[in-house]
């Protein structure tokens, strides 16, 4: 009995030690703040919250966004901050889950008293926090591509990526030009996928194409045999994939192993290096549409856009050893729009003034293009900011 007692005591202490390490580790992984703490600041730090998907199907997107936010905050703070005040970004992980995103928004607004929310990474999560945003009156700059984010207009919500409403028609036009008439659509059931599917269904006939297969998969799903088998038997001559999650690589890989050899197209969701890396040879020849800034040279040397995007890409590469993907770019834009708005409002970060200042953004050159908001347009981007790309040898090259 005494021996058992000692053993039990030792195990208890060991477990408590492990538990406390885990708790300390957990709390720093799920919420971290960067910024204030560098050179002396005259005022209290300006706190902005960021809801990012650091885990879950959008983990790759969230990681890029976190890198970009930290890079930009450091740059602004080292240059003196905004009107002498340092920026502090408080990052919360929503794990690509809408309920967690709402909890994160509530925590950021009520506990951390942030003046604005950047995010979320995903469309579903961005829409889910809208009630919290409206209740608090705090402006939101979303980094997700769903059309509904600014399509379903809300005076407090702004959007930095190219929304589905301009990318979908752009990609469909390319598919029609390539001579496809019967297409199969593979989309996921997330906010982004559903949003894209609605626009695809409406616009495909306008380009002379019929949808002969419409298959949906759940985010987090790992087996797509059912959907791919139905696509194979549908007689389609091309596949349009609409997802931003890690499923993109797996589904393309499984399509190849099932012997599905149709040309495949997609959108911004595939504009990340994890896609060709995860899919390997199966992604060769994949065509997707996204912003010109993915390859800065697209703008042409000497243009304002090229200067801004190339500078960001160089600094990002130096800091992280890899070129920024579009998701880093969307976060870059969100933070810079926020910083520019604070400057224009004269440092006034009260909710109403800040929102008005954001809405008055005009001609701000960013990764997405030149941002000009208005009281009816909270995105400001158009098809001229887009380009087509093809996966060749494991990376993307711009094509016509």
């Amino acid at each position: 009995m005494a021996r058992l007692g000692t053993a039990r005591w030792c195990v208890t202490v060991l477990l408590l030690l492990v538990l406390s390490i885990a708790l300390v580790g957990c709390s720093s992984a799920s919420s971290s703040s960067t910024g204030s703490g560098s050179s002396g600041s005259s005022g209290s730090p300006i706190k902005v919250g960021a809801i990012l998907s650091l885990t879950g199907p959008y983990a790759a997107l969230g990681a890029s966004e976190k890198n970009a936010l930290e890079l930009e905050v450091k740059r602004i703070n080292d240059a003196g901050g905004l009107g002498g005040s340092q920026i502090e970004v408080i990052i919360e992980d929503d794990a690509t889950d809408e309920a967690k995103a709402v909890a994160a928004a509530t925590k950021l607004i009520e506990q951390d008293k942030v003046v604005a929310i950047l995010g979320a990474t995903g469309t579903g999560q961005s829409m889910a926090v809208r009630t919290v945003i409206n209740r608090a009156g705090v402006p939101q700059i979303s980094m997700a591509g769903g059309n509904a984010i600014t399509g379903t207009f809300d005076p407090l919500v702004f959007q930095t990526p190219w929304p589905n409403s301009i990318i979908v028609p752009f990609v469909l036009k390319k598919m029609a030009t390539d001579g496809h008439t019967k297409i199969a659509v593979l989309s996921d059931s997330s906010g982004y996928g559903k949003d894209g599917l609605a626009i695809i269904t409406a616009d495909a006939p306008k380009n002379g194409m019929t949808i002969v297969a419409n298959e949906v998969f759940k985010p987090g799903d790992t087996d797509y045999s059912a959907q791919l088998t139905k696509v194979k038997n549908s007689g389609a001559d091309a596949i349009l994939l609409w997802t931003a999650g890690k499923e993109g690589a797996a589904i393309v890989k499984q399509a190849e192993s099932l012997g599905l050899k149709l040309p495949m197209y997609g959108g911004s969701g595939q504009a990340k290096i994890e896609f060709p890396k995860g899919a390997g040879t199966a992604a060769e020849g994949f065509v997707f549409g996204t912003g010109k800034s993915l390859v800065p040279a697209n703008w042409g040397a000497g243009t304002d856009e090229f200067k801004v995007v190339d500078d960001f890409a160089t600094r990002y590469q130096a800091a992280y050893g890899a070129a920024p993907d579009i998701f880093a770019g969307h976060a870059f834009d969100a933070l810079n729009i926020f910083a520019d708005s604070v400057k224009r409002s004269g440092g006034d970060t009260s909710a109403a003034k800040l929102r008005d200042a954001i809405e008055q953004t005009s001609g701000l050159v960013g990764f997405g293009g030149k941002f000009t908001f208005s009281s009816s347009d909270h995105n400001g981007l158009a098809e001229k900011d887009l380009s087509l790309y093809k996966i060749v040898n494991g990376t993307w090259v711009p094509i016509q």
């Binding site: 983990a59 045999s225 059912a226 139905k230 038997n233 192993s257």
Partner: protein, 290 residues
């Protein structure tokens, strides 16, 4: 016709994975009378360790073997630290501890491996085998082969070796086993190690197809558990049967009803079995558990 065949192949592939996980549940249940809800995390650890070892430069077969052994060792360690102190107590306590253990293992994996999905190379390279218009990936063949070896191995272990007989004795009546000189505590540890090893084999076998990440454990745990309940807890053959049947039901639901309902099938099956036939499809009178 070829579509049906493709659905059946997918069903048997996933079913084999569920079988391996369900075997893990069954073995631990037989030894302790409790459900080990950390079984899904052993599945995850197998895949993650395999990726880690491959990235360290080890040749694939060595990495796979070490990953299985490593996960089995973690399973044994888990048992010694968390289960043994309360092993003679209430099965409910053991269940709660395993739930806590699964959360801990998942968070530790997140901290060590990060949140990203990682791929494992296929065990053999090559194109899929084409059969009557359907395609069977080579990795799927590996999954079936490994499941068959696991079943055969367990059969030989339980029926032909003294060690296996000792495990069965412990499962039938622990007091009596102790009286005849069997180290029952070691048998329980060995059961956990065996269950963890089987989970790791499943995780490694499917990782080349689906990639793996720190959070794949929870989902597979639920499905493996449903498969074990469907077959009937306590009988390894029943576990495999339950796994294969669940895999087929999922695949046919995805193919002919709606792919979005696929994940619901396991839960519906679980509820249905518990309401209608709690001892499972193949569960007998419960006389002998292994």
């Amino acid at each position: 016709m070829s579509a049906l065949l493709q659905f059946l192949i997918a069903g048997l592939k996933n079913g084999a994975i569920y079988s391996l996980v369900a075997l893990g549940f069954t073995i631990v249940y037989a030894a302790t009378g409790a459900i080990n809800f950390a079984q899904g995390e052993f599945f995850m650890l197998g895949g993650m360790l395999g990726v880690l070892l491959v990235n360290l430069g080890l040749p694939l077969p060595i990495a796979l073997l070490l990953a299985v052994v490593g996960t089995a060792a973690i399973g044994a360690l888990f048992e010694v630290l968390a289960i043994r102190p309360i092993a003679d107590g209430d099965p409910l306590r053991i269940i709660m501890v395993t739930i806590g253990g699964s959360v801990l293992l998942r968070q530790i994996a997140l901290h060590i491996f990060g949140p990203d999905e990682v791929p494992l190379p296929p065990f053999t390279q090559g194109t899929s085998i084409k059969v009557l218009g359907a395609a069977i990936e080579l990795q799927t063949v590996w999954i079936w082969v490994l499941t068959a070896i696991a079943m055969l191995g367990l059969f030989v272990l339980y029926r032909r070796t003294a060690f296996g007989r000792a495990m069965r004795a412990t499962a039938i009546n622990r007091e009596a086993a102790r009286l005849v000189g069997i180290d029952t505590r070691f048998m329980v540890t060995a059961s956990f190690a065996l269950a963890a090893g089987l989970g790791a084999v499943a995780g490694l076998a499917v990782a080349p197809l689906t990639q793996t990440a720190f959070d794949v454990g929870a989902g597979i745990g639920v499905k493996g558990f449903s498969a074990a309940i469907l077959g009937g807890l306590g009988n390894p053959v029943a576990a495999v049967g339950g796994g294969l049947i669940l895999g087929m039901m999922e695949s046919l639901t995805a193919g002919y009803i709606n792919p979005l309902y696929k994940d619901a099938v396991a839960l519906v099956v679980l509820l249905a079995v518990l309401f209608v036939r709690p001892q499972g499809l193949f569960g007998g009178s419960g006389r002998e558990k292994v």
